[in-house]
Symmetry: C2
Subunit: 130 residues, 2 copies
């Protein structure tokens, strides 16, 4: 059975990346054909940045790389699930996961954010300065 990813009009599939140990969702990102190929070939996570319009090896600036334990695809092959060993933190804010806040009801149909994990594993200002 061939892997035939169904790219959207921008040439991308959605990628969900989880921590292979804890199961936590670390991040949601996108991959183009080249990012998929490089991820499969190297066993390291590569993505495509929509804001920078560029291929991107996870951790190339921060050192916070992701080793792929397993890659899956969904029923219609327009999404990919990576289970990874995360080195350090996945989030550019320095948190282990990008999903470090939960959404809680706040009356009148509103909602507020509450920190689940505020700890920073690195200092973004130090890591990303050029």
């Amino acid at each position: 059975m061939a892997f035939l990813p169904k790219f959207d009009s921008a040439g991308l599939v959605t990628c969900v990346t989880t921590d292979a140990v804890s199961g936590d969702v670390l991040m949601v990102a996108h991959m183009n054909d080249e990012a998929l190929r490089k991820t499969i070939a190297t066993g390291e996570a590569w993505y495509f940045s929509r804001s920078r319009n560029a291929l991107w090896r996870k951790g190339e600036s921060s050192g916070q790389t992701q080793r792929v334990v397993e890659m899956r695809t969904d029923c219609d092959q327009d999404a990919v699930w990576l289970r990874v060993e995360q080195r350090g933190a996945a989030c550019h804010t320095g948190r282990h996961s990008c999903f470090y806040r939960k959404v809680e009801m706040a009356g009148e149909g509103g909602a507020r954010l509450v920190f689940v994990d505020a700890d920073r594993l690195f200092d973004p200002a130090a890591v990303y300065r050029k």
Copy 2:
């Protein structure tokens, strides 16, 4: 801290839904403002179907509903992570998760799909016939 979802040009955020017990990724879908509000207000998962261009309560046809245990959002608030109690199967093919196949290298840079979980918990032909 207010929850201020960052909708894309189509008015959607990406939603990753995981099984609160196993941690498995069940599905990737989208939510518009109304789907988010209804999910928060009712504690049941609502999505927006891009193919049908319609709001959709998960399980309204199949009975395979999702009770929300926790909702999180990511660093830039353009994605949501739902941890749910899945009743039956999340996938329209009858499998528990939409991610029932893994992607494996197949030499020459190619890749093939291998079933991780082929079992169907319901018969789609019976459930979705009108």
